[in-house]
Symmetry: C2
Subunit: 502 residues, 2 copies
């Protein structure tokens, strides 16, 4: 390892390689509550794509692993390294390379934070609409996790805004995919394959993103509801109306209490309403003109009232901004309140309230407290689990995962698998699906040096040796993270094919 | 082959396998002007996913190729089979499996046409916004090509609406990816990898798509311009204003004459304006309310006037619909007029007018007529090439491709590579990029039975034998279809790494 570190020092400069006690505590963890901090063998901070390529070439030849790291604001441990591997941090590659106003696109380095990017775009009246709730997050980190956030109900998730990448494969090969192009139909989309791959297929060194006009007018509506099913039933009425909400966030009453207390906000909800409230809906609206916005506010208010809101409050711009910021900080409020884990699950939007009720019920049965908030427009829920006993907590979370999968959902909507959910994913996914993921990993990273222990693929060398995806059979329902039940439909298939699959 | 055909007859029923003279002429071609029709060894029409799986298993074992076919409305020859292989047509798998109003999603079989899907969604006030201009196209075909179309400037292309797939690998393995989920972060996105893969990675047997509220109010504006650069410069002003246009289409004056004559439309443009016009912009606007729409029409009209439009016509709903339909039929108008090829290229939007001027100039130099129309909001251009001499036409198209690539573009925005552009892609793309595509193909289809001669990957068996992606080096600019110039930056990289790449 010392020899490799010397080679890497020669590439990036000795100042940009930390080892031993010189490794900063910040570089050993992210914000995930359940992944233990790890001090890697070294932390490398390259300054250019060529340096990234040269470092990877060294590491690939030597079989030394590399874990990519952005701001460390992730919630799955994906950027936490291993003791005998390197962490590659991208904070020295944080430039805006170009802003194309006519194209409404920008090209940036991966280490730029969302806050710095927003500052750079503001003078052009443009915005990058991905807002995962943490402005210190880097673009590279959001690409790695396919980050979503509160505005996704209107604008979609990260992959819908990334149109091009420069990437470095494990071998040191530098590739470009896509470009400043609104459309492309020239073969397999490597951009989309690498987005969401958590640093396990290639390291991203440039990102081309689509931008949107910067909003002119914005309003925030708060609607208390007596129960979650009523709240959930109001969601499609809002999204179907054509008002195109910017945010559709729900918080159960405990979460709302937590975030408002942490932020020092008084919601000023009528006490007679407050005592009947079990869930809150926050609707942010945005329009190019204040007149249109006013119409949208009135329509949305009417829809919510007609769909069972106990009351509808149109917040002042200041109060609205404060409440949205407080909601963004929900993770920190839950952590401060003593949550033992924060779980990200996603289900079809129509299945959200059932999942939440089931999670509360499962929590009660296990002696755990489960509270939650989330992106109600997307069926994407963040549950705070208060259960200090690790085994009981794991059992509860596993039950919640199974319920989500049975409802057609998945075990992560936006935080990623990282280290925290890798085992659950491997245990629950269709083996044929996993075999394909392993082989894709082996194509990009045959020696398995990128992101050890992170993400959906198993050891590359094992995949390399595999004879190919076996001809199994599963025509049952499910998603990326579906529970495997290979024999479920075999009878039907055998009838159609005249043979029983192995 | 006869033995295989008998096996397949036993799977799908003898009525659903055509051979020899029983193969309908329609199943031998698509709409591409340059790909020769081919009569395959057989055309198979499966009725279920299980049948697709069983047929592929047979074919994979026997090494018989399978070319997937939707409606045959494509423009790249991707659905044209080979003489010793099978074509698999999906018109028997054309059902809507479910429409989830609360989720704003639908699950459909691949053979359903866009027209039939629209009929099914209309009662729910929902719309699938992908409109490639041919309502007889199938959902499966649009997934295969990642189809775009006129509404993409607002809603994005096919991949932005497909959230889940059921797919059958060459081996017969049935997999699901994604689901009725607005967000997902559980590993490599197989859905996105298969969208746009032109039937060469897996055959899609179910598609889960996002839906949008059905538009309430729509208006169409026609703006003549004296020249293309002025027209192009108006585009970012419109998109940056926040009016969020549904369509932003340009037609040069010859194309406009062609499409309006073919449709029997009189544009009623003031003759004094018409004589000065060299390019037309069509802007379609859409809003949830007629009041908002009226505001958007006024704002857009003012922007166009301020940006050099010779005049601005707000068309009657009937005239607007007729003009949009006529524009949709531009391909057929150009074909009727005797065009020898229709070429789909995409560049950064800001590079569009330069490319068009260059194409016209290259055309003149080669004694060819080049006219065009396209999706001005996306930088996606369709050029009609009138040049009967095949070699001169190919040379001209190659020059246009090179110009597009040099401008950061690609050789297909939405039609795909198919057979028509495969050779150009293989000749122009970065070899390291191609090696990766080959290996991905080999993961999904190790025996190379899917889509022979179609798309971006070379023969699977060759890729299988390859030792892995070589550690080449290219940090230069470019896109998926970039021109390869591997030594361009070697000097700089050598300086950084202390070694020269092989």
């Amino acid at each position: 390892m010392n020899e490799i570190l010397d080679q890497i020092r020669a590439i990036v400069g000795a100042d940009h390689v930390a080892t031993g006690a010189a490794i900063h505590q910040d570089d050993t963890h992210d914000e995930c509550l359940t992944v233990t901090p790890v001090r890697p063998a070294g932390v490398v901070r390259p300054g250019t794509t060529a340096e990234v390529a040269a470092v990877l070439r060294c590491c690939n030849e030597a079989g030394v692993t590399v874990t990519a790291r952005g701001a460390g604001s992730g919630l799955s441990g994906a950027c936490v390294g291993v003791p005998d591997g390197l962490v590659m941090a991208f904070d020295r590659m944080a430039e805006v390379i170009r802003i194309d106003v006519a194209d409404q696109m920008a090209v940036v380095q991966p280490g730029i934070t969302l806050a710095a990017l927003d500052d750079a775009l503001a003078p052009y009246d443009l915005v990058y609409p991905v807002e995962p709730g943490e402005p210190s997050a880097t673009v590279g980190g959001t690409v790695a996790t396919n980050a979503g956030g509160m505005r996704a109900v209107r604008y979609g998730v990260t992959r819908q805004h990334v149109v091009g990448l420069q990437m470095v494969l494990a071998s040191g090969t530098v590739l470009r995919s896509g470009g400043r192009l609104a459309k492309l139909s020239t073969g397999y989309d490597l951009t989309q394959l690498v987005v969401g791959s958590e640093g396990t297929l290639a390291l991203v060194t440039e990102v081309t993103i689509r931008l949107q006009p910067r909003p002119k007018a914005r309003a925030t509506i708060l609607a208390p509801f007596a129960d979650l099913p009523t709240l959930a039933a109001a969601i499609p009425a809002v999204t179907g109306s054509g008002v195109d909400p910017l945010m559709l966030e729900y918080l159960d009453v405990l979460s709302m209490t937590g975030v408002t207390q942490a932020a020092g906000i008084d919601l000023a909800v009528d006490p007679a309403v407050g005592t009947r409230t079990n869930a809150y809906l926050i609707v942010a609206l945005q329009s190019r003109s204040s007149e249109h916005l006013q119409d949208d506010v009135e329509l949305t208010g009417a829809i919510l009232t007609n769909h069972g809101a106990l009351d509808v409050y149109v917040l002042s711009p200041r109060a609205g901004a404060d409440l949205v910021t407080a909601r963004e900080r929900a993770f920190f409020a839950a952590r401060s309140a003593g949550a033992d884990d924060i779980v990200d699950v996603v289900v079809p939007r129509s299945a959200m309230s059932d999942l939440l009720l089931e999670a509360a019920s499962l929590g009660a049965a296990s002696g755990s407290l489960v509270t939650g908030c989330g992106h109600a427009g997307d069926g994407n829920i963040h549950l705070s689990i208060f259960q200090p006993n690790s085994q009981r907590r794991q059992d509860l979370i596993h039950q919640i995962f199974r319920h989500a999968l049975d409802a057609g959902g998945a075990i992560s909507g936006e935080h990623g698998l990282g280290r925290a959910k890798r085992d659950a994913f491997l245990a629950l996914a269709d083996p044929n699906h996993l075999a394909l993921l392993d082989q894709i990993k082996a194509v990009f990273d045959p020696r398995g040096i990128l992101g050890p222990g992170v993400g959906p693929a198993r050891d590359s060398r094992r995949a390399e040796a595999a004879p190919g995806v076996s001809a199994g059979t599963d025509v049952g329902p499910g998603g990326d993270a579906q529970r495997h039940d290979a024999n479920r439909h075999l009878a039907g298939l055998a009838g159609a094919t005249g043979e029983v699959a192995p």
